[in-house]
């Protein structure tokens, strides 16, 4: 058994030694862009399945936190409600259709995201609440921060197609770019074409007495 383990570790060693990192700087409207999803899909070999996780997307002050969440394919996600009022989270997206009955606290059953793609989240009680789950088909993904940078570590050397997505991206699908990962870090930059952002208004509107 010990011999077999040593053999496996030795077999993995070259791959680990050759693993590099990918850093993409994402810009939009000529400024660093936060919340852009970057996924690396290998071109020379089948993509290994990511390790599913147990994750949570919170509802705080009647907003989804975070607004964009990347989850590995097959992950199970809980939707804890930290507000003093109740929420009813749903999605119409083809990648995952679901509806959580009205709830406070944390629903007992997590939602399993078993198809790659973008899942738009809403709350049927508070129409301004919008969130996105990006279900990643590979283990190599990252989300850009306020400086627009998204960094993926531990990427084996080889050619990759980068899939880049953002809620304001023009077009329904991701923008793609091919990159090669070698021994050193691969640094790339991309300017996304964005549509104007629009979020339903939360502030009171005359004559419309909706939920608050």
């Amino acid at each position: 058994m010990r011999t077999e383990l040593r053999a496996v570790l030795l077999a993995l060693l070259p791959a680990v030694a050759q693993a590099g990192s990918l850093e993409l700087t994402v810009r939009g409207d000529h400024a660093p862009l936060a919340d852009a999803v970057v996924v690396a899909v290998p071109l020379d070999a089948p993509a290994p399945a990511p390790v599913p996780g147990e994750l949570a997307i919170d509802q705080i002050d009647k907003e989804f936190v975070s607004r964009v969440t990347i989850v590995p394919l097959g992950s199970r996600v809980k939707f804890p409600n930290h507000d003093q009022i109740r929420h009813q989270v749903y999605s119409f997206s083809p990648a995952k259709r679901f509806e959580l009955p009205l709830y406070a606290g944390t629903p007992a059953n997590p939602i399993e995201f078993d198809m790659p793609g973008v899942v738009a989240l809403g709350c049927n009680i508070h129409d301004w609440m919008l969130g996105y789950v990006y279900v990643a088909p590979t283990p190599w993904f990252a989300k850009s921060g306020n400086d627009g940078r998204a960094r993926i570590d531990g990427v084996p050397a080889g050619r990759y197609r980068l899939q880049i997505w953002h809620p304001r991206l023009v077009g329904a699908t991701e923008t793609t770019r091919e990159v090669t990962v070698g021994d050193g870090p691969a640094n790339e930059a991309i300017e996304l074409e964005l549509k104007p952002g629009f979020k339903p208004r939360r502030a009171p509107v005359p004559g419309i007495a909706g939920y608050r």
Partner: protein
């Protein structure tokens, strides 16, 4: 409402899942009305500015995934710049049943509401009890346009008996000029010009009683159904009640100042026609700061 539906609501309110969510709103408003006496014209036309404040608080009970029932108590006051006899303080309450006919932001909704209260006016004979009932149906088209159709009924009953002057009795008229009833049907649309700026447009057709205040005018008195002395706008004036059809046009720009606060600038034009020669026109402006929890 059927008895079964009422029992279902009561059961939901009393059940273990019945959790109430708080509701709170407040507003400060500056209003201008170029014809505050609802006069047909001439020397009876007077304008005024008022400063108002409104607060409402209550609870909402979810009756399931699609419906809720809310109960709100409200306090609404206004002080006039010139005609202080119209200064008022309203206390009342409203119960609303709201249901969403589907899932998502585009799902149509239906609202049925009823309520009432007491309006205390500085010139005491204008004090009234009021009650309102209404139903509204609305939906969203796309991400920017909301449209609603609303039917409302409002009744008012004078809070005090008013002595009817001899002159009025001579015309065979009643003195309860502040007892009124009206029905209205309105269509409103809210268009989000940007995430923060919304344009609200509305048209309402109203049929019911109108109260105007004029100097003694035989022709007007003969056309009215009730008359009472009204020194609010000066001595020698009478308030009279008349059935009229009104067209009300609203246009408001509403700017979100945050998640809970909005600044509204509104314009209202109202035409009321009772008879060919008895028509009233009002132009109103409103600047309001509105908060919702």
């Amino acid at each position: 409402m059927t008895r079964a539906a009422l029992l279902a609501i009561l059961a939901a309110l009393a059940g273990p899942e019945a959790v109430a969510d708080p509701i709170a709103t407040a507003a400060l408003a500056l209003d201008y009305d170029d014809n505050i006496a609802n006069a047909a014209g001439g020397r009876d036309l007077v304008d005024d500015v008022s400063f108002g404040a409104r607060a409402a608080a209550g609870w909402r009970w979810m009756l399931g995934d699609r419906s809720d029932l809310s109960a709100v108590a409200q306090l609404d006051g206004a002080r006039q710049a010139r005609y202080t006899g119209l200064d008022r303080l309203e206390t009342g309450g409203t119960i609303t049943l709201h249901t969403k006919l589907g899932l998502g932001g585009d799902a149509p909704w239906l609202k049925i509401s009823g309520g009432g209260g007491w309006c205390d006016v500085a010139f005491a004979p204008r004090d009234v009890w009021y009650w309102r009932a209404g139903a509204a149906l609305g939906t969203r088209f796309g991400e920017r346009l909301d449209v609603a159709l609303a039917f409302d009924y409002e009744g008012r009953a004078a809070g005090h008996d008013v002595d009817v002057p001899f002159l009025v009795r001579r015309f065979g008229l009643r003195g309860d000029a502040y007892d009124t009833q009206a029905k209205s049907l309105g269509l409103s649309a809210v268009y989000a010009l940007t995430e923060r700026l919304s344009l609200v447009a509305g048209y309402t057709r109203r049929a019911g009683d109108v109260v105007s205040t004029v100097h003694i005018d035989r022709e007007v008195f003969e056309a009215s159904s009730a008359i009472t002395p009204d020194p609010t706008f000066g001595p020698g004036r009478f308030a009279y009640r008349l059935g009229a059809d009104s067209n009300v046009y609203d246009l408001t720009f509403s700017l979100a100042l945050g998640a809970h606060l909005a600044l509204d600038l509104g314009y209202r034009h109202q035409d009321s026609e009772a008879y060919e020669e008895l028509a009233y026109h009002n132009e109103m402006l409103r600047l309001a700061l509105v908060y919702a929890y």
